[in-house]
Symmetry: C2
Subunit: 255 residues, 2 copies
Amino acid sequence: MSQPASAPPIRAVFLDFMGTCLDWHSSVVRALPASLTEEARSDLALVWRQAFFDDIRSRPPGEAPEDIDVVHERLLKRLLEEGPRTDVAHAFSDASITEAVQAWHQMTAWQDVYAGLAAVREQLGVEVFVLANGTTRLQLDLVRSSGLAPVIDMLFSSQLLGVAKPTPEIYKRALDLVGLGRDGPGGAVMVAAHAYDLRAAKAVGLRTVYIRRWTDDLDETDDELLVRENDGYVLDDFAGLAEVLKKMQSASDGH
Amino acid sequence: MSQPASAPPIRAVFLDFMGTCLDWHSSVVRALPASLTEEARSDLALVWRQAFFDDIRSRPPGEAPEDIDVVHERLLKRLLEEGPRTDVAHAFSDASITEAVQAWHQMTAWQDVYAGLAAVREQLGVEVFVLANGTTRLQLDLVRSSGLAPVIDMLFSSQLLGVAKPTPEIYKRALDLVGLGRDGPGGAVMVAAHAYDLRAAKAVGLRTVYIRRWTDDLDETDDELLVRENDGYVLDDFAGLAEVLKKMQSASDGH
């Protein structure tokens, strides 16, 4: 009798970084002007982040990625000058805008990430890569501030690959570079707190795991859709990631 | 009174990898056909390696780099079929050629490297990057087999950067990616066991340290030239690298 068709074994995990692994919100809120209330700073950080994703989605696919510091500065100035947050513009100087932009280079990891990734590496023997929009300098700074270096094998930035997520080419280039171009993309899993990222990864053929983070994907309110799109692999944090990958692996083995 | 002109502080060390950090010779000799004597295998490995460097130098600058496995296979077949080692061709099958090519993916580090780099990181607080010709898959394999991951921040391959050493563009791109493009290349040091690499790095403005390895640069026999070209910074291994970098740093501070 023929065996059920089996997918290739899981050999690599690609991680989105900010939001998915890293708590960008705390460091950005801390860097916004102290003259604003905590609530105003949290709100501004969330609006700024959403503007960043809206900006990514508005770009023509395949366009060369812009320096993330430049994007962050442009978007913050726009939302302070043109809205929707002109009411807090009075609190900013050139120096405080620079300070806020630089805050995106220093973040701590969500507390579940280090142990979750260590378990993935130990129990599945897979390699773990960052695949995220931004510059390589940004990723080096974030790996340092987050202390995640021991659980990450390599950093792939959109700057390095010359194209940004969600353009299909970035996932394909990353697969080629780690040696999974020939075996097919099913040997890789994309892990992210952003549905747009996982939709693009899945379209290229990667498997996907969605991580719910309260700071991200505020416009993705249909939880059933997320569960369906990611074949049920939706988690609240990285604690159960190793178990999910093992389940994914054995499902594709036909067990 | 005016101070002596000072170079920027050293912030990054770029490492060549094979030969400089890694003992390619032992693993390649081990993978060559057991029917050959140890001496014949060692000789073949050295001739193969030299053919690799001759091949790099024969290429037009800026040409997109070829997959290193493909290059290794082509060069081994040529030296067995056309010379200068037709006398050992009888010992090879297709399988043993493949095995020999794959041996370049598994190497241990020279015993001085880990401690030497750990001292550099600790005493100078600089970042350490691999900048080497080859594929990213190759570098990932070599970092794993050598155990050097904890002392390396990032891997830059010629495949990733789209251009090979000694083309100037590869050094410039690496500097830009780590954030040293603006401060100037004097904030970076290239460390290699290959004079051609250091000549190219120096022409771009990086500082250089030459490491003598018995396996590499067999055609660079003028030691005084090497000392002169590298401003006296020539070492027998990585043990004294931290001290040399501190001396280099204070010399450029004008002390």
